[in-house]
């Protein structure tokens, strides 16, 4: 079943572009990463799902429910972490969580307490006395504490130290194991790479790519370092191989980039004595930049 479905979702703020003709399907039980730079339309999309803002045209459904008509039913089944989290400053963490829990039919108090412990949050301090990171932790706890079927997290790890980022990833993975769907936006790529199976990349309000993380990496340009036994091939010999670029020879070591399949390169290396091949996992970051460059060329 489909957890989130966007159909030609378009949002304009007056004449300013929010998002344009987004089509996207996220399956139930999937962890989906929504990637893009700030201002690309990630938050606009997310706030539309919760009926905080209304689409100019097109539609959004969550768990088969229409974002306009069934917004209350959607919000009952979703846990949401806003991108710019604000909590009531004069209340304590406990009061905030109690209040938000009461706005729902109920939460799992044992799970809430477990999360408070795992995130190391002291529940009786006032929000105004908390650091940004600690506020963010409270935001994460309130999104998870009722064990929602769908989690919509707008930049969940902003302001968290690495240890707490790790706890966040664990909590997300646990939710997924329980069969829940996670839709998270991020501009931090290793994060998405770490927890999402599939990513959508949004740029200037348009979805430019939806792909599994694996395929994206497969298709991406790989950085390769080859150590040859004597004699090493000359740079010109390697540069002609399909997909190979940026050849750099230094003694018996050759560095080059390969786009797409490795096959032509491997076949071309047969006559030489190859001592070692090291491939560097391309960070999603570079794939991302590559896509962006292409996007810019298209404009």
């Amino acid at each position: 079943m489909t957890a989130i479905l966007l159909e030609r979702l378009t949002k304009f703020y007056g004449k300013a572009r929010g998002v344009l003709d987004l089509d996207l399907e996220v399956a139930e039980g999937e962890v989906f990463g929504f990637l893009g730079p700030n201002g690309a339309g990630k938050t606009t999309t997310i706030r539309t799902l919760l009926d905080l803002i209304r689409p100019t045209s097109g539609s959004a459904t969550v768990l088969g429910l229409d974002s306009r008509r069934d917004s209350v039913a959607i919000r009952a089944r979703v846990g949401y972490l806003p991108g710019e989290l604000s909590l009531w400053e004069t209340m304590t963490t406990r009061q905030v969580l109690d209040h938000l829990g009461s706005l729902r039919r109920g939460i799992d108090p044992a799970y809430r307490d477990e999360l408070l412990e795992r995130f190391d949050v002291e529940p009786d301090r006032k929000i105004k006395d908390l650091s940004t990171g600690n506020k963010q932790k409270v935001g994460i706890i309130q999104a998870f504490m009722h064990r929602p079927e769908v989690l919509i997290l707008d930049e969940p790890t902003v302001g968290l130290d690495p240890l707490m980022q790790q706890v966040t990833y664990e909590v997300i993975e646990e939710a997924q194991r329980a069969g829940h769907t996670v839709f998270l936006s991020s501009h931090v790529l290793p994060e998405v790479e770490r927890i999402a199976r599939r990513v959508g990349i949004i740029r200037s309000g348009k979805l430019i790519e939806v792909e599994s993380v694996e395929n994206l990496k497969e298709r991406a340009v790989k950085l390769i370092e080859i150590r040859f036994g004597f004699p090493a091939p000359r740079a010109e010999n390697l540069a002609g191989i399909p997909g190979v670029t940026d050849v750099y020879v230094s003694g018996d070591v050759v560095q080059l980039k390969v786009g797409g399949s490795m096959d032509p390169l491997v076949k071309a290396l047969v006559p030489y004595e190859v001592l070692s091949i090291r491939t560097h996992e391309t960070p999603l970051e570079e794939i991302f930049l590559e896509l962006y460059r292409n996007g810019n060329d298209a404009n």
């Binding site: 905080l52 009531w88 209340m91 706005l103």
Partner: protein, 267 residues
């Protein structure tokens, strides 16, 4: 689902409400006790008689009310100016803070990402504002009833209640107006500006009405007229006028709901 937003709103305004309660009780008591100094000072009344009619109107002394009588004194010192001002400032500030303020702070985003309808949210905010205003109104009546006899005033609960209720409803009209503008625009500046400007304008018009013949009849469209004409402290509550105030409040609350339902929320 209980009225969580209502309770949370009142709890978060608790400190402000306590401060305003202390101020209201102190001011009302101070005004009542000051009556001791004016009681029986005929010369004071003679001096006021020389003032132009619109000054008397603004002072709450039109229609032959005497400042040295308890009713005339209370009307001129409390019900025609001080108490409306208390209600206006408190209720307008409350409405701005709790609607446009929450939107500006960003806490609205989180609250409305929960299974709460927009209608319910606005109505609970309205209810919280009304109840908070009622607290000040009740305190005003109780203080009057408690201190009045000490200052030698021969008025009773019904007069105090009627006059306070009338003035409270004026305040509630502008509180509801603030709520409606805030709900429709989400702007603190807009809601505060529109309602304060209208409140001041209407109050001045109420004072000028007897002076300008062109305003005859038009002044009947003024919430201050509905709540202050009589005045209620001597003539008792004007049921028709109070009903009018209530109707306007209800219409404005409905407008707040309608305005809040249809728009995008700010971040």
């Amino acid at each position: 689902m209980r009225t969580e937003t209502f309770y949370r709103t009142l709890r978060n305004r608790r400190r402000s409400l306590i401060g305003w309660s202390i101020a209201t009780v102190s001011l009302v008591a101070l005004i009542v006790f000051s009556y001791v100094a004016i009681k029986g000072q005929q010369s004071y009344q003679d001096m006021l008689d020389q003032y132009p009619e619109f000054v008397q109107q603004i002072l709450g002394l039109s229609g032959g009310l005497s400042i040295i009588s308890p009713a005339g004194y209370l009307n001129s010192q409390l019900f025609a100016n001080t108490l409306p001002l208390i209600f206006l400032i408190f209720l307008i500030a409350f409405a701005v803070r709790e609607t446009a303020g929450e939107e500006g702070d960003g806490t609205l985003d989180l609250a409305l990402a929960h299974p709460v309808t927009r209608e319910r949210f606005v109505l609970e905010k309205f209810a919280a504002m009304t109840v908070a205003g009622c607290v000040l109104a009740v305190l005003s009546v109780v203080t009057l009833a408690a201190t009045g006899p000490m200052a030698g005033m021969d008025l009773g609960w019904s007069q105090y209640t009627g006059a306070t209720l009338s003035v409270f409803l004026i305040g509630l009209v502008f509180g509801a107006l603030t709520l409606a503008v805030a709900a429709a625009t989400g702007s603190r500046a807009m809601s505060l500006g529109v309602s304060s400007a209208l409140a001041v304008g209407m109050f001045v018009l109420w004072g000028l009405a007897p002076l300008i013949s062109g305003l005859k009849g038009v002044d009947r469209l003024n919430p201050f007229f509905w709540g202050l004409a009589g005045p209620p402290i001597t003539e008792g509550i004007q049921v028709g006028n109070l009903l009018l105030l209530v109707v306007v409040v209800v219409v404005l609350a409905a407008a707040a709901v309608a305005g809040f339902r249809r728009r995008d929320l700010g971040v």
